[in-house]
């Protein structure tokens, strides 16, 4: 341990051990760099929000809730279940083991690359130096040749509903609940709010979703949300659009809409109205790294903010998604190591674990038209899918969007069971500029949801097999 201002030297310093930071660190190590990674959660907290309090635990909770609901709903199919009960307490213990196990795996990957992991909170104090306040309250200084800022984002707080870890929770708090609340108000109908609201509704909580806009999931094409809204309402979720959360009053949340104030049962309130980049307390000024008014760091194609500092993930523009951060991590590590690298994907897929799931890759028809593309689309209804029928989940569709001028796939939009698993193939088609004919001539396995992509391509070409009378492409 070095004390005082004496600095340790770091070749490449990575700030943040999430899916952006740890991937960047491993890639840089593969390129021969000596990498030091600083994360405030330490070795046990590696993996960042995604692994610890985001993607992984939320998918685990969603899986639990969905399975619990499904087994109870399969009487028609012949499954008789008695005494099925969800214990969130046991779930939390299991979740802890899950996250520890995954964080341990990340730690081992970093160790294999000789990446030094430092537990503490980093702050730039010079263009080539960070101070790290360690868990023990000591300061260590690292003089770096290059650095990658991958500090992620945190939930936005509403002034009228400050997080208190008890009544008013952020998504982290909601995922840590050890008991199923009787009622929950979810403020914000983005993907985090709807995923959590859906899961708790399936666990038996009376859920109200409060959204200021007129629609849910503003990041995706409106047509995709209809089956989701239908299912939410069908399971008794009170969807309050064009409404704002005003305040807590006793056990209730006061919600205002055009008709005035309403009282909503809310044993717990989950605020999921967005995330803000963790760039305000990093001393980026001292490093000469500019920060925009939105808290984002402006970067070039190679993700450099300055000659020696790159930034990736939630602290730069683009969707705040783990896979985008990881892809950027690879580019940043390569660019800083002298490789000609650029972040220039043709599509960044997105998946939403609502019920049914939503998966998107590339452009919607409207976005494509706005880009000046001669866009055509074809929509294959899941009512015509054999696999969807066996799942008892035929609400939804698979829509393929193509650029007619160059005969290539530019978008796939799926709402339906396992939609999240369908978009990787579509992203590949978009990146490789596949034509709808390529998709139609590619054998898709039966019986799977992926056949719907094939059918949408056939539909677009005007000769669908399983959608008689579905007509010509729109």
């Amino acid at each position: 341990m070095v004390v005082g201002e004496l600095a340790e030297s770091a070749d490449l310093l990575v700030l943040g051990g999430g899916p952006g930071g740890y991937v960047a660190a491993i890639r840089a190590a593969q390129l021969g760099r000596r990498v030091t990674l600083v994360d405030e959660a330490g070795p046990e907290g590696l993996g960042g929000v995604c692994l610890q309090v985001g993607c992984i635990p939320s998918k685990a909770l969603i899986e639990l809730a969905a399975t619990a609901e499904r087994v109870r709903g399969m009487g028609d199919m012949g499954l008789e279940v008695e005494g099925a009960r969800v214990s969130l307490e046991r779930f939390q213990a299991w979740r802890e083991r899950l996250c520890l196990g995954l964080a341990g795996s990340v730690g081992r990957l970093l160790a294999a690359g000789d990446v030094t992991v430092v537990h503490g909170r980093a702050r730039f104090n010079r263009p080539d130096r960070v101070a790290v306040r360690t868990e023990e309250g000591q300061a260590r200084f690292f003089e770096f040749e290059q650095a990658i800022v991958a500090t992620g984002s945190r939930p936005v707080e509403l002034p009228q509903l400050p997080f208190d870890g008890e009544r008013v929770l952020d998504s982290t708090g909601a995922l840590a609940l050890a008991e199923v609340p009787s009622s929950m108000a979810v403020v914000g109908a983005g993907y985090i709010g709807l995923e959590l609201g859906t899961a708790f509704a399936k666990l038996g909580t009376r859920v109200t979703v409060v959204e200021a806009l007129e629609r849910v999931l503003p990041s995706v094409d409106a047509s995709l949300t209809a089956p989701v809204v239908h299912r939410l309402r069908g399971r008794g979720v009170d969807l309050r659009l064009a409404s704002t959360a005003e305040r807590l009053e006793g056990g209730q949340l006061v919600v205002r809409d055009g008709d005035g104030e309403h009282y909503v049962a809310a044993e717990r309130v989950v605020v999921a109205v967005g995330r803000v980049p963790n760039t305000d307390d990093l001393g980026l000024d001292a490093a000469g790294v500019p920060v925009g008014p939105d808290g984002l760091v402006p970067v070039g194609d190679d993700l450099r903010a300055t000659g020696r500092v790159a930034a990736i993930g939630d602290v730069v523009a683009g969707p705040a998604l783990a896979h985008k951060a990881s892809a950027e991590g690879v580019v940043a590590a390569e660019a800083l190591s002298g490789r000609p690298a650029a972040f220039d994907p043709a599509a960044i897929p997105a998946v939403i674990f609502t019920d049914p799931e939503i998966g998107t890759a590339g452009l919607s028809e409207a976005e494509a038209r706005a880009d000046g593309i001669d866009a055509r689309s074809a929509t294959f209804p899941l009512a015509a899918s054999g696999r969807a029928a066996t799942l008892g989940a035929t609400a939804g569709f698979t829509r393929l969007v193509v650029d007619a001028a160059v005969d290539r796939v530019v978008g796939l939009h799926v709402v339906g069971p396992h939609a999240s698993e369908l978009v990787a193939g579509a992203t590949l088609a978009i990146e490789l500029m596949a034509s709808p004919e390529d998709l139609a001539a590619t054998i898709h396995p039966h019986p799977t949801m992926s056949e719907s992509v094939h059918e949408a391509a056939e539909l677009l070409l005007g000769h669908p097999i399983h959608a008689a009378g579905a007509g010509a492409p729109r």
């Binding site: 490449l12 390129l31 021969g32 040749e145 800083l336 690298a341 290539r408 500029m433």
Partner: protein, 406 residues
Amino acid sequence: MAVGDRVREHQELVEVQTDKAVVVIPCPAAGVVAELCAPTGDRLAVGEVLVVIEPDGDGAGAPAPATATEPLQSAPAPAAPVTAPRAAGRPLAAPATRRRARELRVDLATVAASGPQGRILREDVERAAAASAPAGAAPPADPAAPGAAVAPPSAPSVPARPTAAPSRPGEVVRLRGVRRAIAQTLTRAWQEIPHIIDYREVDAGRLIEARDALRRRATERGQEELARALTPTPLIAAAAVRALADHPYVNASIDMEREEIALHRQVHLGVATATADGLMVPVVADADRRSVGELALEIAALARAARERRLEPGQLRGATFTINNFGGLGVWLGTPIIQPPQVANLGIGAIRDRVVPVVGEPRVRPVCALSVSGDHRVLDGDTLGAFVSRVVTLLEEPLLIFEDLT
């Protein structure tokens, strides 16, 4: 021309540079310019919309799009590759191809795509890189190759520095039109043709006397235009044309694919002409059937048309032999590059007074240097040399040019 401008039918609408010339495209309809679909200097493929004109009057008719109807920027290759369509805002290339382009520092926007509907393939990128690489430059090693460019893990604290950024020019001029055609043609010429160059010194005293005599005669007859056109160039042209009659392998073209040498019956004479757009080589058709006066007038007219961008594509095609008088530029000794499929190019420098031995005595004489390039696949030192000797004789004794007339 701007959006909102009113245009008449047949009005000159746009100047289009093809590989060979600048062509003025007339307006196909009267109306108001509703949209300019490409900025000045851009390349359009045949069939692409150039401008949208909203018809006058009732406005009921659909906008009349003026499409590129002639091959604008047609590439010389048989299967004309197209530059990737820009509609989607980015070149059409798969991720590995985009990566390769970055490695090779190739701008995908400039790559000719050979895939369907403008898809850029990895080979296209590599071809583009090869075409732009300086001769002899080794292609960059594939950094993905095992071991390449990866510092050993035990490397000291020296970090892998970023490679030197490419220099940033103050201005980037897109390779377009005449410049692009020159670049492509001369790259091919220099790479394909094994040049041999025969350099000679010519006593130009009698050539100047002949030129002066012809000019005086024209002036006396009131042929002012002819008098002005009678520079040394038409005499050099005439000398070359007469010499070609006796040396058919110099007035020839070579086709390596068919493994044939075509010996031409006529001489279509290319005359290299400097213009603001770049070097152009208009062609005097049937130069072997023209008198010196006719050659003078024709060469002068073509040069003027070239400078005024009035040449038609037909006036730039079909040369069987080329002369290049770079004396006007002050050049003493030049290196003419042969334009395929021709097999020779005659260059001549400035005529200057020089001290030369005349019958054993130093004399001041007007002298110029002749440099004639020959394609060694067709011509050898002796065959080319025989032709050049004949040209030198005709230039030093210009009366012989008129031999046929006596």
